[in-house]
Symmetry: C2
Subunit: 440 residues, 2 copies
């Protein structure tokens, strides 16, 4: 290390960590020119040193498995955390902050659960936490929310925040594959983990939404505040019917202020139909996008690779440079981001959320069923918008698709329970929300 | 003004200026909470005080037509410039910087021509210039390039940066209107000025591209470095043929590093065909978008309203807050943005630019013409990719459309001149570039 350099420590050295090491060494000249100072990766803390030995990009002499050795390395001002998970990693992050070191993290689970506490700890120790890599990979959406859109009161956000789910849904829609086929393919191409639960359950998107909403709304949201539902129960039949009606299926992460009292917000992640013509419907495969509705800007949308080694490493290293240049710690200290002083959070009652709905019923006796379902919906104050039914052979169950005008979720839940009890239908009705983005 | 407030002066009070005044007063509580300090608009300099008298949002007691009175108002730390134009306005901006005041400007013409000088002057006086509103209206693309993508070496940018042109091209494509009809409609809807020259000539997009390229490539570009061509010569016939071939017409602003020697760059604005399936092709009407290709992130795209009162005012006020909170001046001082030390610019020779091409020829004798044109192209080393010709009545000129594989612009220019001299064709051939965005 020269006297004119900034020391960096890194916790974790998996895919993203190796990408970070690679970018830092490849683009040393560029960064030194931009900063006037050299960035020096001095120490890497790993659980198992053998794994990093296989990576030619990593100098083995800087790798340690000893946390005390890592944390007492002199002249380290910035700690990068790319190990993921909580527990021990949370302790490491807290130790770094308490030692007066800035932290750059890609860890959405940690921030979604403990963000508010960690931010307070950082403020107490006059250091900063940068976390662009925690949401949207290489897309600078955190920077946009923290700084670029600063003059806006954010009214809503709609995001495709999980590339695995979007890849699977794109394959189901465009190639007519069923869920399990599309999942296998995603796994083969490296877009899904061997255990895909965190992604396909909606949990990963919920964690990201909690982080983004905390910033955008000035609230303290955790993933427990996000009502979430995954894509693993989706049926190809419904995707095809949706197409006929002009809709694409997407797993959307949605954060909205209530129309009537805008200090109430709702956070949710669920599969839904969106009009094929809106920009979010054009986001295919492993790509991510976030539409942000500001009171002054209207809609702005951010699109790119939401995961992967180099896009995520790009976000991490951008954060490192922004800390090293000194401005980010200043901004972090001044702006009241994720702070404790916004008062309590007010959540919209999920039963009160308005939505349009898509229903599919497997009917024994079509005219009779339509009449009965229509009556139940009418009694619940839900009006039908369209009805779709194809000719089929007699003596079979016939799929009947109904779309509705906007109705309260609670009213629909009640109607669904009643419809499910009808003897003239087979099984339970399928219900998928139709999301209309604000007009802009 | 309370003791705990930041004084703001504003030069100009047209549409955007009035929007700025409105946002500052409407969202006072939000901004004070975010900043811990109040933003106080204390003085507005205008040419004609009568115009602002008609606006109920503006307190007439703060409006002045006297520059000396304006510049000597005490306690003003930030000057907003939303008057536009150069000459006198440039003098005002220089006076503000020399007086040690930060400047927020939406003035693309000024920055595209004098940005480098103004940045130097700001650095000398230890103040900052913020200019998010100069490109892309309310879309925070300057913030993305300055900070969010900091770890990336930017390899290319492709932008729809002029809403007027995009509105006109969308109308021509979707509603089959000719250029002059679409322009009239844009004027009726307020998307085009009475004199639309600056927009439809490509000049406005060229100015924005000069600013964005200076940031992204670390060069000193002015709009004179941008080869630009407008949309006013476009023919509906070609837009329809393009559609048949799977292309949409867009006015793209393109900044690319040379493949071979990446310290050489090219900057250009021209109408071109792009595949209907790429994200930029989905940008319709008055919307803007910018695709940025970073070495690590790959493509990220930014989309939203590129003009209009409130989106532009949103960008201006975001800049004001970022200055007022103190971090932006810090960042501006530290980072070597638009600085003089990047050495000289190296431009790619326009003749060497590779492109695919669309050609339309009005042929008297189809087989003979195709053979002759094919020979000319072949001799120039340009190979034909597709050929399109519809049946028409005999004895008329027949449009023949040819698309080519990638070729040098210089070779195509030479071929076009030869084709134009053929006696078997009517008039000059139409040539439109086909732009393939990098694979991501």
């Amino acid at each position: 290390m020269t006297s004119n350099s900034i020391g960096i420590g890194m916790i974790g050295c998996g895919t993203v960590g190796q990408g970070v090491a690679q970018i830092l060494s490849q683009q040393k000249t560029l960064y030194t020119r931009r900063l006037g100072t050299e960035l020096a990766l001095q120490r890497i803390l790993v659980r198992d040193a053998k794994r990093t030995q296989q990576c030619s990009k990593i100098d083995p002499s800087i790798v340690t498995t000893n946390p005390d050795e890592f944390f007492t390395t002199p002249n380290i001002g910035i700690i990068i955390e790319v190990a993921g998970g909580r527990g021990l990693i949370s302790q490491y992050v807290r130790r770094a902050l308490s030692d007066g070191k800035h932290v750059v993290t890609a860890n959405k689970s940690l921030l979604a659960a403990e963000g508010s506490e960690l931010f307070s700890l950082a403020h107490e120790n006059r250091v900063s936490i940068a976390f662009e890599a925690s949401c949207g990979g290489g897309i600078p959406i955190i920077t946009a929310l923290q700084f670029g859109l600063m003059a806006n009161k954010i009214n809503a956000m709609y995001g495709i925040l999980n590339g695995t789910c979007n890849y699977i849904l794109t394959e189901m829609t465009q190639s007519g594959k069923c869920y399990s086929e599309a999942l296998s393919e995603a796994q083969e191409h490296g877009f899904a983990e061997a255990d895909p639960t965190l992604d396909v359950s909606g949990q990963d998107a919920a964690e990201k939404l909690a982080i983004l909403s905390s910033l955008a709304f000035g609230i303290q949201a955790t993933s427990a505040h996000v009502q979430s539902e995954g894509i693993d129960q989706l049926n190809l039949t419904d995707i095809k019917f949706g197409s006929e009606l002009g809709y694409d299926i997407k797993l959307l992460a949605i954060a909205e202020r209530n129309n009537k009292s805008d200090d109430h917000v709702s956070l949710r992640v669920h599969p839904c139909f969106v009009h094929t013509e809106i920009p979010l419907a054009q986001v295919h495969g492993p790509f991510n996008a976030l539409s942000v509705y500001g009171h002054a800007t209207g809609q702005t949308l951010y699109y790119g690779r939401g995961a992967g080694q180099m896009p995520t490493a790009s976000a991490v290293v951008s954060d490192v440079i922004n800390i090293a240049s000194g401005w980010y710690p200043h901004a972090f200290g001044e702006l009241k981001l994720w702070s404790n002083d916004h008062g309590k959070n007010n959540w919209v009652n999920p039963d009160d959320l308005p939505s349009r709905f898509y229903l599919r019923i497997s009917a024994r006796d079509t005219p009779g069923v339509v009449a009965k379902v229509g009556t139940i919906l009418g009694d619940a104050g839900i009006s039908v918008s369209a009805l779709l039914q194809h000719e089929v052979d007699a003596d079979k169950f016939v799929p009947v698709v109904i779309t509705t005008h906007s109705a309260r979720q609670g009213a629909m839940n009640k109607a669904l329970a009643e419809i499910g009890r009808l003897e003239v239908i087979n099984g339970q009705p399928v219900c998928i929300r139709i999301v209309d983005l604000p007009h802009d």
